[in-house]
């Protein structure tokens, strides 16, 4: 997020008017580990740093490290709930929140951080995740069955339009649930979920996609045969990178493996890790799958009464 002069001044004022330099450094160290204010300002260690200089330096460094949202979030929590068992009254918190809101971010009280307002913008890190840090995600992998054969059989325009429609279905379903499309290769993609009930969201998105695709195949599909997909849902830790294609993660690899090796066409496979975190009603919709490698998986497909 780009910081404007007003927000910078408000953050500096909030620090200057409410805490000592030691407290400011303690706060800065919460978002920048081992932060050394003396080293940053060039003041000798036996001199005390004036409040305003300290606050300005800290806010500049926070900005340079792209941690403004995290730091502002910390101030909001400090003001509303206190920090380390102590309550603080910070001035300008409402103005800081309003300024950040104006830039397209809202405060997520559950995760206690600012995240992007998805009505205004959608980025791969929800405007909140930090490069190189590890988070627990839920992943949804989707692949078109028999894509190579389809590409050979149909004109490029038909394939492009059909795959575009599928992408539209995926996009609509995941964006309702705050999912982010991390990659789309033309014949499939990977979606990440982080905020809210992420395991429910990923599984429900997959179910929704399967339902919408069923209607699409019945009513709109340009191909002679129904477009068929495989969907897999898995979750776990993964280090975040802004360039999501650079991410190397066992969790993502496992998601792709479940999708390619254990998922039948037109169905969803859900890993046991995700299954155990689902709401009971959603668990009831899934049936046990037998995977060859002894891992426990759960499946879903659209079945009709005879």
């Amino acid at each position: 997020m780009r910081i404007n002069v007003r927000l910078r001044d408000l953050l500096v004022q909030a620090l200057v008017e409410s805490m000592t330099v030691d407290k400011m450094v303690m706060l800065a160290q919460r978002v920048i580990p081992y932060y050394n204010l003396y080293e940053r300002t060039g003041f000798p260690v036996n001199m005390s740093i004036p409040n305003r200089d300290a606050a300005r330096q800290i806010i500049d460094d926070i900005h340079d490290n792209r941690l403004v949202l995290q730091f502002a979030g910390l101030l909001v929590i400090m003001h509303t709930e206190g920090l380390a068992g102590r309550r603080y009254v910070l001035p300008h918190v409402r103005e800081i929140m309003a300024e950040i809101h104006g830039a397209g971010f809202v405060f997520d009280w559950e995760f206690q951080t600012f995240v992007e307002d998805s009505r205004i913008r959608r980025t791969r890190n929800w405007g909140a995740l930090v490069e190189g840090q590890e988070y627990v995600f839920s992943f949804l992998s989707l692949d078109i069955v028999g894509s190579t054969a389809l590409v050979r059989e149909y004109p490029e325009e038909t394939i492009k339009a059909t795959y575009g429609d599928l992408r539209g279905i995926v996009q609509r379903s995941i964006e309702r649930r705050e999912g982010r499309l991390w990659s789309w290769e033309g014949d499939g993609g990977l979606v990440a979920f982080y905020f809210g009930k992420k395991f429910n969201a990923a599984t429900l998105s997959a179910v929704d996609i399967l339902h919408d695709l069923f209607l699409y195949n019945r009513l709109e599909c340009r191909l002679k045969i129904p477009l068929s997909v495989r969907l897999a849902v898995h979750g776990g830790p993964c280090e975040f990178r802004h360039n999501t294609e650079d991410i190397v993660s066992d969790t993502i690899n496992r998601t792709l493996e479940i999708e390619s090796e254990h998922t039948m066409p037109d169905s969803i496979a859900v890993s046991n890790v995700v299954y155990l975190a689902l709401e009971p009603l959603l668990q009831e919709m899934l049936y046990p799958l037998s995977a060859g490698d002894r891992s426990i998986l759960h499946g879903y497909e659209l079945r009709w009464e005879e």
């Binding site: 397209g104 998805s118 009505r119 205004i120 913008r121 959608r122 325009e157 492009k160 339009a161 575009g164 429609d165 992408r167 539209g168 996009q171 609509r172 499309l181 789309w184 429910n200 429900l204 179910v207 929704d208 339902h211 069923f214 209607l215 019945r218 009513l219 709109e220 599909c221 340009r222 709401e279 009603l281 959603l282 919709m285 659209l302 079945r303 009709w304 009464e305 005879e306």
Partner: protein, 325 residues
Amino acid sequence: MEIIVFSETRSVLEAFNGLSGKAKCGVSFKKTADLKKGLKSIDPDSLVYLDVSRMDDAALKKALRLLSGNSGLRYAIVDPKNAIKDAGALFHGGASDYLCRETLQGGLTEKRVRCAAAFRKREAPDREPEKKEMPSTYKPSGRDWKEISPGHEYTFCFMFIELDNLKESKKNFGDANLRNPIEPFLRHLERSVNPAGGKVWMWTEYGAIVLFPFDGRGCDAVLACFKMMLGRKVFSIEESGFNAMVSYRIALHIGNTVYRVKGETGTLVADSLNSIFHLGQKFALPGHFYLTGEVFAFAPKALRDFFVPAGSYEGREILRMRLSL
């Protein structure tokens, strides 16, 4: 629909920022230099606005070639310096809109963007329209609500919907507490029927009668109700607040009634209205979706094999949707 603006010009960003606060569609911003890269990962339902104020002739031609060569993509040109002499040519090339300096200064409205999006709709597959015979008593109300005025008789598609197992729900939640779980259901209903032109006409205690305009050619209500049945489990888990599977029954019928605005229907007497109430309250089983033969004749062909005969009621042939398990 997502609006993607490729621009670095302040006035353009401000104009679209103003829009993002009002419009229901998302607006995201990208640099013009990222146009080629940005188009690769674009949602097909998006509308792209390209600011050409920092482009020379060669760059502009290249950008227009890139946009028009992307089949199915809807795009518009933003020209804050009024540099383009022949704006009409842009439309021949496939553009959906052209925003000049004056338009930007006047403020961008949601209506403008919607018109631009509708100007070039996405390609739909060619389908041969099905010819259907319409009974002579029908007085089609049209494709939408534009021609419908109170006090006149029209043919509508009537939808009855009601939550099932109310006694059990009252026992579980208490009469007073039942209001809260019902609210999401009513919102879900409105959200589901609105795209097909449906309007809630009467609220019953735990459901509603919805009217869909009927044009004598097709019945979009069938698809809307089909989707509601297909998505009932997802709704129950995600939105209902019941913490239990929500069960509702739906019935559809086509017939005539004098149209009166919502709230002024108390003294209305219509055979069709009686029929739909009887069908929904006395015949329909919990958790099922029924059509009368009149509706089935206008149901989408591709969905007809999902309906099975369910007998007859009050002299009408009734069909029931097979349930998804």
